[in-house]
């Protein structure tokens, strides 16, 4: 069965979680100084990875905390979960 491990609550059903898209994208410090192209880069452009991908998840049906996960987008396997503010762990796959 497919399970996601919340770093605070442990393994739970995927229906308890909400996906928040790609992780580690920082909001620009001074958006008012950006060109339209630079703003579009921040808002729309994502890496569209096939393979190990760092993304945000929220345990919306449990502790309601956001955290990050490394998921293989080709197999849906979750390789690691880590708390917001922690560094992205590296696996032997990337």
């Amino acid at each position: 069965m497919f399970r996601i491990t919340c770093p605070y609550c442990g393994p739970r059903e995927p229906t308890e979680f909400t996906n928040g898209g790609e992780a580690h994208i920082s909001r620009p410090q001074h958006p008012e100084q950006l060109s339209d192209a630079e703003w579009a880069e921040f808002v729309f452009m994502r890496s569209n990875t096939k393979g190990v991908f760092a993304e945000r998840w929220c345990h919306s049906g449990g502790c309601r905390k956001w955290f990050n996960a490394l998921r293989d987008t080709a197999t849906d396997e979750i390789l690691a979960v880590y708390r917001v503010g922690e560094d992205r762990p590296w696996t032997d796959r990337a």
């Binding site: 605070y8 609550c9 739970r12 229906t15 308890e16 049906g61 449990g62 502790c63 905390k65």
Partner: protein, 202 residues
């Protein structure tokens, strides 16, 4: 003008008792407070104010005299009291005055349901996905999870077993009917929701 009428969220539902097989009743504690704070700093002032150790891990609870604290998240708890919560609120405000915290009275926002009887675990297992086996969910365990599509807090208060479940008030009748329907193999009656829309049990 007519006088205000005090109603509990499931006041229209009579308790259901099927021998010692399964039973369902509204359980409406007088006070529910949500506390959010940094536990590193606030645990000790909280203990001094209430006599209760703030639970610090998933599934855990802190039990005191007329106060139960359930862990909801790393910085969030629900505090349950059978007494009117004003005095507890004041005590916490005084005790946590030096802390960065948030305390919200949600007493009227939630409904409580007590589920008992020897089939209570099996009945709930039809509707929640967490492991309710005694080795994984012993008396004193409480979690925030989902029941069907509703967010709930589920707490096993006694090994009998006696579960207490809290859900948003507007979901109360829906969840009551799901529970009653899930218990039909042990003699619980089919329940017709307030809106008379037939149930789709997942």
């Amino acid at each position: 003008m007519s006088a205000p009428v005090e109603r509990t969220p499931l006041g229209h539902r009579d308790p259901i008792v099927v021998g010692d097989e399964a039973r369902l009743a509204e359980h409406a504690p007088a006070g529910l407070l949500i506390l959010r704070c940094e536990p590193e700093a606030a645990a000790e002032p909280f203990r001094l104010a209430t006599g209760v150790d703030l639970p610090r891990a998933v599934g855990t609870t802190g039990i005191g005299d007329d106060l139960e604290a359930l862990w909801l998240g790393p910085d969030e708890w629900v505090l349950i009291t059978a007494a009117e919560p004003t005095r507890l609120r004041e005590r916490l405000r005084a005790g946590l005055a030096e802390q960065h915290y948030q305390l919200v009275d949600v007493s009227d926002a939630y409904a409580g349901i007590e589920i008992g009887g020897r089939h209570a675990r099996n009945l709930l297992a039809k509707l929640v996905t967490i492991d309710l086996h005694p080795r994984a969910f012993a008396a004193g365990t409480a979690v925030a999870t989902m029941l069907a599509k509703s967010s709930i807090w589920l707490w096993l208060t006694a090994e009998d077993p006696v579960f207490r479940l809290f859900v948003r008030r507007s979901h109360a009748d829906h969840v009551w009917c799901l529970l009653s329907d899930a218990g039909r193999e042990w003699g619980l009656p089919p329940a017709i929701p307030i809106g008379r829309v037939p149930l789709q049990v997942p």
